[in-house]
Symmetry: C2
Subunit: 454 residues, 2 copies
């Protein structure tokens, strides 16, 4: 498995390497391997080398800022990095250079992280394959011609291919966790409001989240600690409670924890179904009590159409100027989606909002009886670009977006066909660390080696 934030931070702390050396290694890998993967839209080599040199000077002066200092990471291309375009995977935004850093970018820079560049994504984050026509399809590092998932497909692929130690993604219905599952890495959608979503090209204001993607749960924890925190200028982050304890203690026993499981139906791939049963058995051996989750009233298919309306209506506003000025800068399918939203009535959207809000009480009831919900991350593994995206792709992930709850995906082994699978742990709002601890305990006990080390 590729070295992540925690491993590289250790190497830097022990003086076994320098940020400059790591940065050159990653840049060289990008130059070599990304030709066939296409996970980067922009590589910021000069910025990265300068940041690495500064980090090494700080470290030499015993003034390193923390675990992330000098660690090379990358950003999904809908997150602002000053001086570099924020394309959001949209042709019309190809030259849209951001003047400022998003608050999450500024937090990473302040922690000393080295930004390697900006990552490919599904057009406007509106889709889950990263079959991007403007910037090129991003391929699954495990199988060329297959999707890495999306919309944060570049983030998943780059981390899995060892092109960065971690990446930021964004997640509206599953866009961090789906590529994490498809690429065999770990990814966290934090509690709504825990991480600022300002300076990020939105998909749907009320459902968008920014979060980390990395090889291991421990890496996610180190990333979360840096990017989390109240942003008084962000609608959802402005009232976030005081900081939480981000220490990811080794949780070898899950004794005393009740985990909710879901029933598996015919829409779930048989390998995913048996992988899930094996994961539940392992969680039981770790001491957890597994019970049937009470999700009565949660109807994924019905809510999906409501969420899509919320997305289309927001997109019409978010890209209004570009759609007006350069309609050819969007794909037909993207424009069609927005056209659909424009034609709907206000009460229809009001009904969609109310249906999504009603998931809050379902989550409250669920978390009154279990400490976390454990599901497959996706019902199917990665698929060929020639296949259509299944409508069930967000069946397990979207619940956390509706509920504002934290959800982490970690590798759950491989299908018989050697495609990665993911296990998702969804926690109570603001219990991000509980979800991460459960995922880390599973990860450690399962010991999946998703990919040969570099």
């Amino acid at each position: 498995m590729t070295a992540g934030v925690a491993a590289l931070a250790d190497q830097l702390a022990r003086g076994e390497t320098t940020s400059a050396a790591l940065t050159e290694t990653f840049l060289a890998r990008i130059a070599e391997r990304d030709k066939s993967i296409n996970s980067f839209i922009t590589v910021t080599g000069e910025l990265a080398r300068n940041a690495a040199a500064e980090s090494d000077r700080r470290r030499a002066a015993k003034m390193a800022r923390g675990p992330l200092d000098g660690v090379p990471i990358a950003l999904k291309d809908n997150i602002d990095l000053a001086g570099v375009p924020t394309t959001a995977g949209i042709e019309a935004r190809r030259k849209r250079v951001s003047a400022t850093d998003a608050p999450v970018t500024a937090r990473l820079k302040a922690a000393g992280a080295v930004i390697l560049g900006k990552l490919n994504m599904h057009e406007g984050a509106h889709g889950a394959t990263t079959a991007n026509e403007a910037y090129g399809f991003c391929h699954n590092p495990d199988r060329r011609g297959f999707t890495p998932g999306g919309s944060s497909g570049g983030s998943g692929a780059a981390v899995a291919a060892g092109l960065c130690a971690a990446a930021l993604g964004t997640d509206t219905l599953g866009s961090i966790r789906i590529p994490s599952s498809f690429c065999g890495i770990a990814g966290l959608k934090p509690t709504r409001g825990l991480v600022s979503a300002r300076g990020v090209v939105p998909l749907a204001w009320s459902l968008d989240h920014v979060g980390p993607m990395a090889p291991k749960a421990a890496d996610l924890s180190l990333m979360l600690e840096v990017i989390a925190g109240r942003d008084s200028a962000d609608s959802y982050s402005a009232h976030t409670p005081a900081p939480i304890n981000f220490a990811l203690e080794g949780l070898s026993s899950l004794k005393g924890l009740r985990l909710g499981r879901v029933a598996i139906d015919g829409t779930v791939d048989p390998d995913v179904a048996s992988g899930y049963e094996a994961a539940l058995a392992l969680l039981t051996r770790l001491g957890a009590e597994i019970v049937a989750a009470d999700l009565d009233g949660f109807d994924h298919a019905q809510l999906r159409s409501k969420a899509l309306l919320v997305i289309e209506a927001d997109l019409a506003l978010i890209h209004a100027e570009d759609l007006e000025k350069s309609p050819a800068g969007f794909t037909q399918i993207f424009r069609d989606g927005i056209e659909f939203g424009v034609k709907q009535s206000a009460p229809k959207l009001a009904a969609a909002y109310e249906a999504i809000r009603a998931v809050g009480p379902i989550a409250a009831r669920l978390f009154a009886s279990v400490d976390a919900l454990v599901t497959p991350t996706t019902p199917v593994p990665a698929f060929s670009f020639e296949q259509p995206m299944p409508k069930t792709i967000t069946a397990f992930t979207a619940f956390a977006n509706y509920a504002g709850a934290p959800a982490v995906s970690v590798p759950m082994g491989f299908t018989k066909d050697r495609l990665p699978m993911g296990l998702q742990v969804t926690g109570r709002p603001f219990a991000d660390m509980t979800a991460l601890r459960i995922a880390a305990a599973y990860e450690q006990a399962a010991g999946w080696d998703m990919r040969p080390a570099d």
Copy 2:
């Protein structure tokens, strides 16, 4: 001033009266005085007498349940009381008997409160005059022919006229605080989610709040302690944090508190403007530091049109069946409002939601620099039913609904024409008790005697 919850609870505790005696007194007053005020839509005399008798038996057995046990109160007629119609002030709902109690009603009953009946309101809560064509205009107890405010006009008038010790109202843009101001009583819109809004006919799901109205701030505190609490089946209440401390300690000094004030423009009645300056001077004498509130970016007029769209879109859904089956059961103006909402596009509503969400960061910035915001409750006092409702009526109140913040109105004396005025204290979300303590300190120091005692 009419005796409120605190005063009557003391009398009951000392054995100076019984719940049965109080209930008969209030029922007799209703029979006599409400002929000219018209604050009640339904008087539940038998239910009240039975509840009073039970309360007196409990008290005789030393098993009284707390301060509210045996105290006669009343409910706005959009709040469910089992076995009684919930008209919401709408003709089409005249016979809509509720099978169950709303959670707030159940909480009041469980605390031993005696429910005297259901109170008049603006049709569907969609308006602020309580000039109700179906159930009759509700008149201001201080001046017949003048509005008591609204939409909780019956609640304001009934409390002011001594027809109940306290009432519940609902508040979407100011509907608790406007009638509190117009009738010379105290009223609280709690933090969003602190009090369940289930079992209440909605006006706009994302802006509705239930709260108490009573003679004094201390009464509001006693009521809030009973009605507040997580309701896991309510979208906003499901994730409410642990209970807060409801004790309203005598806060005679406001030393150390920074209060934000607003600039007064020409839309504010001159008597309200001078009353506000006098109130600020008194707050200063009590030790508070008064500073100019930073509300940059808050545009009441612009947000009002956004909020009205949210309301119209929700109303179209909430009353869809009745509008279809009995359109004549609504006034033309109510139907016109809904018709407007139905004609708007989904993106227009999405923009309204986003504009309202953007008030969150404005509030966060404000409350980073002050402990509370102090404003007049309404820019004008009560007006004749022959006058149109000024568009600025919610200019000071709606901010708290957008921000989800608690806001309390207490009497601020009279205009030269002897009409009551109100002072509003808006606090940080979940700092309901801070807002109430500031209001109580002002109330005590100002000593306004709004009305002769009964």
